[in-house]
Symmetry: C2
Subunit: 159 residues, 2 copies
DNA sequence: TCATATAGTACCGTTTTAGTACTATATATT
DNA sequence: AATATATAGTACTAAAACGGTACTATATGA
């Protein structure tokens, strides 16, 4: 089903809470987990990863907590996914980190798999994190999606 | 890693062998598994699914086997993926078959997840199976990929 | 009638994922 | 300086999904 992992899904959910808050907002993993009725260890684990990748920033100690990182706007949906679950790769042989397919030389599918993967990866990398709050909450209309991609190409970007 | 299942990957590999053969070519699962040095049950299982979905056609009994279906050209890469591993859905809530997310009403991420998912799904649905053999075997250049999508939009298609 | 092929179902070991627990470190407050 | 409370990091365990196999039924040419 080409599915995101549950913790990646949750990462989007959590991040959106920070994005919706006023600038400078800070909260602890504990209070966040309580207000959202989610298990603390799970929430904590994800926030740690986001902090390590500078999407969030943290303050340790008493009165500490997490807030949006100064450069969070630089990141994309695709980057967030890769922070949590590693390279976006349809198959192991499309991942740049592990390429141990012995039949790659004669497999023939590889270049096509590369294309499929690049299409998916670039699409996700083109979506900025801010999109999570800046766009309307309703289901996007087909025209809007088309317009997004039209603009993407018109701006000189390439798949 | 948003990964295809191994059997889906293998399905592409197997299908490509049929696509490369002259029209009317027919082979048994057993001989195919032997020539490719793959376990017979695994090969057999996948060919059965492809036959059930009319990508392949089968003849039972002695001298039987599998060959390309009469309408195989109608199918896309995305459809093949869904035949093997079900709906292309980044999360359970983006699948049309199972939508049991209790917090969907207030989650807020949902419409954005829908967009991400549609981008991916439509991209894969736009790639015809014939692409697996019709395009050159080398790694596609960035310009070629761009051209593919340019044409896709120019033809009036929408994401 | 037999040999050989596909069709369908059910099972089990392995791997991955999801969730938890524990220890170390940092800092505001007293 | 001691304490309470937060993050940082690591390691572990239970549950679910996946990969692979085995078995039975059915179809067909020789």
């Amino acid at each position: 089903m080409i599915q995101l992992r549950k913790d990646t899904d949750l990462a989007f959910f959590l991040l959106r809470h920070f994005l919706k808050q006023p600038k400078g907002f800070q909260t602890s993993a504990k209070s966040l987990s309580e207000s959202l009725n989610l298990p603390y260890p799970t929430v904590s684990k994800i926030l740690k990863v986001l902090n390590k990748n500078s999407v969030l920033e943290s303050v340790q100690g008493s009165k500490g907590g997490y807030g949006l990182g100064a450069v969070y706007e630089e990141f994309s949906v695709g980057q967030l996914i890769e922070m949590i679950e590693g390279p976006i790769a349809l198959t192991a042989c499309t991942s740049s980190t592990e390429q141990n397919c012995v039949s790659q030389a004669f497999c023939g599918v590889h270049p096509h798999m590369e294309l499929m993967n690049r299409v998916i990866r670039d699409a996700l990398m083109a979506l900025p994190l801010s999109y999570l709050v800046n766009k309307p909450q309703r289901y996007p209309k087909k025209q809007e999606v088309t317009a997004f991609w039209k603009q993407y190409f018109d701006e000189g970007n390439r798949v």
